[in-house]
Symmetry: C2
Subunit: 459 residues, 2 copies
Amino acid sequence: MSRKISILGAGLVGSLLAVILRKRGYEVTIYERRPDLRTAKIGVGRSINLATSARGWKALELAGLKQEFESIAIPMYGRYLHQMDGSHITQAYSKNNEAIYSVSRGELNKRLMSIAENEGATIHFEHRCSKVDLQKNELTFHLPDGTEQKVVADLLLGADGAFSALRDSYAHSDRVNTTQNYLEYGYKELNIPPDANGNMRMERNYLHIWPRGKFMLIALPNMDGSFTCTLFLPFEGDVSFANLHTEDQVKAFFGHYFKDAMEMMPTLMEDFFANPTSSLVTTTVFPWHFGDRNALIGDAAHAIVPFYGQGMNAGFEDCSVLSRLMDKHGNDWTTILNEYEIMRKPNGDAVGKLALLNFVEMRDKVADSKFLERKKIEKDLGLKFPDKFISIYEMVSFSHIPYDTTIRCIEAQDSLLQNIMNEGDYFTNIHNPEFEKKLNNWVAGYHETVQLFDFGNEA
Amino acid sequence: MSRKISILGAGLVGSLLAVILRKRGYEVTIYERRPDLRTAKIGVGRSINLATSARGWKALELAGLKQEFESIAIPMYGRYLHQMDGSHITQAYSKNNEAIYSVSRGELNKRLMSIAENEGATIHFEHRCSKVDLQKNELTFHLPDGTEQKVVADLLLGADGAFSALRDSYAHSDRVNTTQNYLEYGYKELNIPPDANGNMRMERNYLHIWPRGKFMLIALPNMDGSFTCTLFLPFEGDVSFANLHTEDQVKAFFGHYFKDAMEMMPTLMEDFFANPTSSLVTTTVFPWHFGDRNALIGDAAHAIVPFYGQGMNAGFEDCSVLSRLMDKHGNDWTTILNEYEIMRKPNGDAVGKLALLNFVEMRDKVADSKFLERKKIEKDLGLKFPDKFISIYEMVSFSHIPYDTTIRCIEAQDSLLQNIMNEGDYFTNIHNPEFEKKLNNWVAGYHETVQLFDFGNEA
C-alpha cells in the first residue's frame, strides 16, 4: 500500500516534489510557514533571481513542466563584465552556446504551487512548524490564531529551507553532525527598471557583473524588461555596508564603483534604504534521514551561497534522484532513503564548496586578464577534445555529472591549464606541431586522471 | 555600579565562576537544569573521571580553593599501559615528575556548589532554560510544576555545557557560525572495586590504559580504592557496541582484549548492561558573546572529547582569563567580553583539536615501540634543553601556554624528532660529539621557529 507523504515547505523544492509524488499516486500534504504567495503581499528585496540550468530543467521535465517554464525563462549565454573604466567584456558560459536561464523566484514558486494543487496535493499555509519528534514523526505547528496543532506524519520530507525545522530537530538528536557558516558578506537587492519606452537598458541575454575584487554587483534580466540587481558587499570594513549609512555615502560609493549602473537606477536610494541587508549561509548536516520515517531535501539538507546559481538546481536534482530511486525500489522507503543519502550527501557538500569558490571567481578573478585567457583556452580545449575535456563550469551548469566529481576535477584542470599557459600564448603555440604533441599528451594524462572519478549521471 | 550576574549552569565551570565573581562583590544567581546533586540521587555511569592539571589548579588557586581540592585528588604521574600479552609498560607524563590529578566529578561539583553558596551566590535548581532572547537578555525557564518563568538578566554567562541553551539561542541568530561533530565512538563506564581487604587492585598513581588500536579501556583511581573505568569503542562495525548484545558476547570480548581488567571487575555484566552507551561531541561557535549582555564559557563555548583530560581545565582557564580581564578593565564588560572572545576563541578551537589528536595517541600510538622511544627522547631533550624544548603533552598539561600555540608547535616538534630518530638510536648517538653538534643545531632551529609563536601565559 502506498504511503501518505507530508512535506514541510511549499517553496520551489517542496512544490516540485509534491508534483512528482502526486504523479506517482502518493497522497501529499504540504505545510508551509508563510501565507499563500499567490494572494498575500510577498516580501520583496530578498529574492536573488534564479538561474535555472541543466539539473533544474531535467527535474522540471520529469514533472512534465519544462515547456511551461521555458516561457517565463530568459536565456543568459554568458557573463557581461562591466569594468571600472566603463568598458565591457563578454564571456560565454559554454563552447556550444548553452545558456543558464533567469527566472523570477516568486513567479516560478507560484506556478509550482498551483500545479501541485491541480495535481491533487493539499497545501496548508501559515503552519509554522516549531519541532518534530523524530521517533513519533510528530510535527508541532503554530497557527496564526495562536493555537498549536500536532500532526503525526506517515512519511515526512523536510523541504523547509536553510532554517529547516526538521533539520533543527535532527541537530538536537544524538550523533547528528552539523555546520553552519555565514559569509562576512551581506547582500542587498536593487532594481534597474525598463527605460521610458519599456525597453531593457542593457543587453538582455547575459548575466551582468560589475566585478570589483572584494565585492560585486550583479544583474539578471526579468520578463518585464527590468533587471534585478544584487549588491554583494562585506558587512564590515572600509568598503562595507557598515559605512553606507547616508544618501551621500551611497551616492559616492555607487558613483565611484558602479557609475554606469547607478545611472540606470532611478530608485537607488529608496531601494537601498528600504530593502534589507541579508546574510549568506552554508549549512551541512548528517545524517539526511531517519529510517523510513523522515528525510531532508533541498536547502534543508544543503543550504548554499548563491554564487554558482545552483541552489535550486541542486534541490531539484535531489527530487530527480528520489524519483529515480522510486523507479528502482518502488515503495521500499527504507532502501530509497538510504540510497538517497549515500548518493546525495557528498554532492550536497560539494555544491556548497563550489558555490563558495565561484564567489571568488565572480567578484575577483573575472576581472583578471590571465583568467579570461584561461576561459578562452578552456573553450578551445572543449572543442578540440570533446570526449576528454569539459570545463568545470560546464560540468556544473550543463551536465548531470555529480557535483562531487566536478570538485575532484578542479585540481587536475588547474594543473593542465597551468602547463599549457606556462608555454606562452596558447593561440600562437597551437600552430606549432611540437606544442600540439605536448598538448595531446597533457590532455590524455588529464583524462586518465579524471576517468578514475565517478562520472555517473545524477538525473 | 557593579552589575548583577546570572549564570546558566551550576556545573564545574558555573560554580567556580560564581565563587570568583562573588569574591569580587558581584551579586550572583545561578540557574541549574538538574536537581541538587548534593541531595538528589545523581545519574551515574556518565561521569568520566576528571584529570585536573596545571590550568585547572591555577583557577582553583585564584578562587582560594587549591588546598581544599588537593585533599580529594590522586596524582597520576604517567600512563600504565596494559598490553595484550598481560605485560605492562609505564610512561611518565613529565620530565620533572609532575602529575595530573584524578578527581571525582560529582565530589568536586558538590563542593564547588557549596562554596559558591557559602560565598553568597544563589542557586536555583530544576530551572530548565528553553531559550534566551538575546536582545532583551530574557531567559525562559521550565519549572518542575509545568509552569514557565521569565527572567531578564543584567549580565548573563552561559556555563550550561555542550548542549547549552544560550549557545542554541546564539545558533538561531543571524551570522553565528557553529559546528557539532560526533565521534563514531561511544563510551561506557565500568568499575574496578577495591579488593576484599579494601586495597586497590592496581597501581594507584597512574592513568591505566589498555590500548587496542581502534579502541581502548582506561581506568582512573578513586579515593575509596576503586577505579572508574571507561570503555571507548566504535558504535558500529566488527568490533563495536553494536556487536555486544549478549553476556556471552561481552564475556568473549573482554576475555580476549581485556583479560586482566575483566578479572578485577566483579560487576562487569551488571555495569555493562545497566550503564548507558554515551556519545562524544566536539562543538564550536562564533561569536562567544553579544555586546556586554551575554557570553558563553566552558563547554558551552567549546565542548571537546575527553582524551586530553582538558575539558574542565579549559573551562577553568576561561574563568582565570575572565578574572584577569576584570583586574584590567574593572566593570567595563564591553571590553572584558570583547577581549575574552579574542583571547579564548582560538584556544577553544585548539583544545578541541588537541583532544581529538590525543585519542589516536592513547588508543593506538602508545602501543607502538617507535612512539615509546620518541617519548623517552622528548623527556631527555626537555632535561638537556630546558629553555628550548617542552613536549606538547607538557605544554598542554603542565604549563599555561595558550593551547593555540601548543598546536602550532606540533609540526616543528614532529620534524625535530623525525630528524633525531632518522639517525638511529638516540641514546647511543648522544655520546657521539658529531651527533651532539647536529642535535644542538636542530634544537636551536626548532627553538627559533617556535619563538615566533605567542607563548604568553593564559592564566
